[in-house]
Structure formats: structure tokens, C-alpha cells
């Protein structure tokens, strides 16, 4: 060995199935964009629901599963984003697409002062703090008479029909206005889901992702090794608020009707979301994807049972937490070794090292 090789090591996150996973993801994305060309309106609406719940679940998973921030107040950002969108459209006459961005930014702005408040709290107090904030925001917005106060209001008629792209979709697919609106919303939800998952995956594979995992595993050690826990947590909290706000605004563009009780609903935007993450597998990107599919199936099977259905979801969630704490995907992944979004950095000695 006379030559000094520049690097004798390789670091990779690729696993055996990576090429297959990439192909699979590509097929799903293409199929997702193509669906409106052949599927009926009801399917598009259901897929819109699934995708928006998936984005909310990815955000909650980022908070709880990676940053250890167990929030039960994410409905604050769903509702605030939705109301900001409504205000921009109804009061300022803004285009709904642009107003969705306003909704996301409004949620981001709201998250800054709330971060100052809740980050002073630990564990269960943090969770309660997030809920209190959501209630305060809900009660405040219920006072806003211009947006219907406690009973709520609807988007001005025609607002969503005039959105960019809606007319084009209507002409192209030979569908009527409302259905075209649903299709545009669906495509937006699909883009939002892809971008969200893509960004989270990038974050987890970055240095900041390692820092998050370190803080989650052992805060004191992480601090001693140069990681700033407050910075990593704040960053995740703000990003989750932004994306949750965008999602809330998008959901209410499609619904076109809002009320404080619906927009700040604890079951809809937090309990279901937690269920999705827990049942699918917390702390993985795949978990919420599996979870949202299971949740959708259960909801369709059991929708007629009213409150019994909620009871059943709760029980199932608890059983999973007790007997399979890593969720359905966790069980599957540990049995099969398959990962769709690998993040482990594997070290190997370079085999092509030249030694003469």
C-alpha cells in the first residue's frame, strides 16, 4: 500500500430494495395524476380526503415521531390557515389559490408566538398548552362577525369556479364546474403530499435530521455534542405549522363552507390524525401512508355506527400502542427488512481501493 487513497470509505442510505421502491413510488405518482381522467367525482373526493389527512399525519408524525413534540393542538393551524384563506377570498377578493398560500403563511406567523409559549412546557404540559392555544384561537375567530361569527360562512359563489385551471379542466375533461374544482383541489393535494413527503425525507437525510434523532434519543448527550435542541425543535414546529396551515386552507377551498367548530375540530384534525400515525407506525414516513389507508377503510366500513365507531378507533389505537408500538408498518418492516424511504447511513469500506 504505497498510494494514499483519498477516501477508503463509502456511506450510503441505499438498501437492496431501493430501485424497486423508487419505481413503485414513480408509478403511484403517475397513477395519482392520471386518476381524474377516468375516475368518478366521488372517488376524487375520497382521494382528496385521504391525501389531505396524509399530509396532516406526516406533519404530526414529524412533530411527535421525530422531534418528540406531542401536540394535540394542530387544529389551531388547520383552522387558522382555513380562516385566513376565507378572509383573503371573501373580504379581499383574492384568488383562492393565492389565498391558500396566505393560509399557510398565516399559520406560520401564528406558530412563532405559540412556540414561545409551549416550548416553556414539558411533556404532558406541552400537549395541554397546544390544546389551550387552539381553543383560544377558535374562540377568538368565533367573534369575527364578518366571517359569520360562531355559525360560520360560505365562500362567495363562483370564487372557486374562477380559480385558475378550473375552466381548462372543465373543457378538457368535459366535466361541470364543481367537479372541475374538485379535480383541481385533488391535484393540489397530490402535489402538496408529494412535496411534503419529499421535504420530510430530505430533512431526515440531512444533518438536521440526525440532530433531531439525537435530541429525541438523548437530549443531554446531544447538547454536549454541539446539537442545539431548541433550534431543531423550533424549526420542526414552524415547518409543521406552515404545512398544516396550507392543508387547512386547501381543505376549506374544497369544502367552500367554514365554521369555527368544524375548522378547529379536535376529532377531525387531531384525534384521527394521531390514530393514523399510531396505527401506521410512528417515526417512519411509510407509517402514516399505511395508517391513512387503514383509517379510510375502517371509516367506510363502520361509518354507520356513529359513536361506537369512535370507541372502536380508540380501542384499536390503544391495542396497537400496547402490542405493536411501532405500528403496522413497523411490524412489516422489521419482518421483511423493506424500507421505502431508507435513512440509515451505512458505512462500508470501499472495495475498489487501489493498493499496489
Amino acid at each position: 500500500m504505497t498510494d494514499h487513497v483519498s477516501s477508503a470509505w463509502t456511506v450510503t442510505t441505499r438498501t437492496r430494495g431501493t430501485s424497486v421502491a423508487i419505481a413503485l413510488i414513480a408509478v403511484v405518482i403517475v397513477a395519482g395524476f392520471a386518476t381524474p381522467f377516468f375516475a368518478p367525482r366521488a372517488v376524487i373526493q375520497d382521494l382528496f380526503f385521504i391525501l389531505t389527512m396524509l399530509v396532516l399525519a406526516q406533519c404530526w408524525n414529524l412533530l411527535a415521531g421525530y422531534a418528540g413534540l406531542v401536540s394535540v393542538g394542530q387544529q389551531a393551524f388547520v383552522g387558522f390557515g382555513a380562516y385566513a384563506m376565507f378572509a383573503a377570498v371573501s373580504l379581499l377578493g383574492m384568488d383562492p389559490l393565492l389565498a391558500i398560500v396566505i393560509g399557510g403563511l398565516a399559520a406560520l406567523v401564528l406558530s412563532v408566538p405559540t412556540a414561545f409559549f409551549v416550548f416553556r412546557l414539558q411533556g404532558a404540559y406541552f400537549a395541554i398548552g397546544t390544546w389551550v392555544i387552539a381553543e383560544v384561537v377558535r374562540l377568538s375567530l368565533a367573534q369575527w362577525k364578518a366571517l359569520g361569527g360562531g355559525t360560520g360562512t360560505s365562500l362567495p359563489s363562483g370564487a372557486t369556479r374562477d380559480m385558475p385551471g378550473v375552466r381548462l379542466v372543465a373543457d378538457l375533461l368535459h366535466v361541470r364546474g364543481p367537479q372541475a374544482t374538485d379535480i383541481v383541489c385533488y391535484w393540489l393535494a397530490l402535489v402538496l403530499a408529494i412535496v411534503t413527503i419529499g421535504l420530510i425525507y430530505r430533512l431526515l437525510r440531512s444533518k438536521q435530521g440526525l440532530g433531531l434523532a439525537a435530541v429525541r434519543d438523548n437530549r443531554e448527550a446531544a447538547r454536549s455534542l454541539g446539537v442545539d435542541p431548541l433550534w431543531t425543535k423550533s424549526f420542526v414546529y414552524l415547518v409543521a405549522a406552515l404545512v398544516t396551515g396550507l392543508t387547512g386552507a386547501l381543505i376549506y377551498v374544497q369544502k367552500a363552507r367554514i365554521s369555527p367548530d368544524a375548522a378547529f375540530s379536535v376529532p377531525d384534525w387531531t384525534a384521527y390524525v394521531i390514530f393514523i400515525v399510531v396505527i401506521g407506525g410512528i417515526g417512519t414516513i411509510e407509517g402514516p401512508i399505511v395508517g391513512v389507508i387503514v383509517f379510510y377503510i375502517l371509516q367506510n366500513l363502520l361509518a354507520d355506527y356513529g359513536s361506537l365507531y369512535l370507541l372502536f378507533l380508540g380501542l384499536l389505537g390503544i391495542l396497537i400502542m400496547l402490542f405493536a408500538p411501532r405500528g403496522l408498518w413497523g411490524v412489516f418492516a422489521s419482518r421483511s427488512g423493506i424500507q421505502l424511504f431508507p435513512i440509515r447511513r451505512m458505512l462500508a469500506a470501499r472495495t475498489d481501493t487501489k493498493n499496489d
Binding site: W9, G211, G226, M346
Partner: protein, 239 residues
């Protein structure tokens, strides 16, 4: 020139004084040993130097700057690396990833830049065969090695070692001493808390003795071990 200056450090937990006006200085490139019975305040002293505990009073100067009020991550970036007496691994990360965290954050570099160095440290500390295993799956001795490896990965100017030789066989202990000597030769200043005296004295040039939070002796090992006070307090309890 001193790299570390401790000036009248004091710390109490309630009525218990665990650091009582401790002052000493460590020269750049020096290796210093710390001994004292269990509960004497050795680990506490480390926690004060690293910022994991806040001092009640006194000042800490490192590398020419007052770091008394700085949080642990800033002190790590300034060049203070430490091991924990009770290992604190990131259990759900692999051994290699544990080092990546320490190297990239602790020396403020990108992951790409530090990969090779982490791999080399794994080889040096004998952890390379475990590189891709979860740190949570390691036994106690390997966890202690990981503590050392992780501290090294931060590229420290001053390395604080807290009882990393306990429980090793004669041969393993000899290996560890060689590793620490090699680190010292590279110019890293070291403070080493250890009960295994012959291992300690084969590396360090001076010893500090702590007893109930007070510094009761400092100097070259032979003189310290010969002093009556130290023999009564320290050896009387330990042997």
C-alpha cells in the same frame, strides 16, 4: 499557556456542597488525572466544565475565553469533548451515526466532510465491526468505547474522560491506555477521572484529589500518593 482555568468554582445540590471553591489550571497539551472516593464530586466537576450543570459561583475560562455562562453546545464547539460516566448513546441510531452527530455538529461541518474521520475513529477505538449496529444493542464495555469515540469525533482540544477503564481486563486496559496516549500525543489536552491508578498514572503528569467537593491536593502523582491526607482519605476507602 493554560487551556483551562477554573476559578473558585462552587456548586451545591440543596444542602450538599458538591464543588467547594475549586481552582486549578490545565496547560495546553497537559494530561491531568482526577481521583477521589465515590461521591467526591468528580463527575460534577466535569458537568460544570461542560455546562451540563450551571455553577453557583466562580468562573471557567477555556482557550482564552470566559465560558461560564455558555450552554454545553457552545462549549463543545469551542473544543471541549466529554464522555459520560454512565454511557448516554443515541440508542436508535447506529454506532456510526452516533459519531456522525458528534462530528458534524460538534465541529460544525457537513456530514460529507466528516464521514472519513468518523470511520477512522471507529477503527482506532475498535468499534468498526459494530459500525452499522444500533447503539442500543451494545454491551456496557462497548458503550464506554462509544463514549470515547463520540467525544473524539467532536475534534476536541480538551478531552474529559469519566471512568472509562472500569471493568476492563488487564489487556483491554492496556489497549485503552495506548489509545489515550496516542490521542494525547496529537496535542489534545486531557482530564481523566479514573479509579484504576496504574492506568491513570501511566498517562497523566499531574493528579488532582477531590474529597467532599474540595480540592485537597494537586501535583505530581508520586508526591500526591505519598501524602498522608490522601492515603487516609482515598486509599483508606478504596483499598
Amino acid at each position: 499557556m493554560p487551556i483551562l482555568v477554573l476559578d473558585q468554582l462552587s456548586k451545591s445540590f440543596g444542602a450538599l456542597k458538591v464543588a467547594d471553591q475549586i481552582s486549578f489550571a490545565l496547560d495546553e497539551g497537559e494530561a491531568l488525572g482526577v481521583i477521589g472516593p465515590n461521591g467526591a464530586g468528580k463527575s460534577t466537576l466535569f458537568n460544570l466544565i461542560t455546562g451540563n450543570f450551571r455553577v453557583d459561583s466562580g468562573h471557567i475560562q477555556f482557550d482564552g475565553r470566559d465560558v461560564t455562562r455558555q450552554p454545553p453546545m457552545a462549549r463543545c464547539l469551542a473544543g471541549i469533548g466529554r464522555t459520560f460516566q454512565i454511557p448516554q448513546p443515541f440508542e436508535k441510531l447506529t454506532v456510526f451515526e452516533n459519531l456522525l452527530v458528534a462530528a458534524s455538529f460538534g465541529s460544525n461541518r457537513s456530514e460529507r466532510e466528516v464521514g472519513d474521520r468518523c470511520a477512522d475513529i471507529l477503527v482506532e477505538t475498535g468499534l468498526y465491526p459494530k459500525a452499522n449496529q444500533l447503539a442500543g444493542s451494545l454491551g456496557l464495555l462497548q458503550r464506554k468505547r462509544l463514549e470515547l469515540a463520540r467525544a473524539l469525533a467532536t475534534d476536541p482540544k480538551l478531552l474529559l474522560l469519566d471512568e472509562i477503564a472500569g471493568g476492563l481486563t488487564e489487556g483491554e486496559c492496556q489497549e485503552l491506555v495506548e489509545t489515550i496516549r496516542a490521542i494525547h500525543r496529537r496535542g489534545v489536552s486531557i482530564i481523566w477521572v479514573e479509579h484504576v491508578l496504574n492506568a491513570l498514572t501511566s498517562v497523566v503528569g499531574r493528579l488532582v484529589v477531590l474529597h467532599f467537593g474540595r480540592l485537597i491536593g494537586i501535583g505530581d502523582p508520586a508526591t500526591i500518593m505519598a501524602s498522608r491526607e490522601v492515603r487516609e482519605i482515598y486509599l483508606g476507602i478504596e483499598v
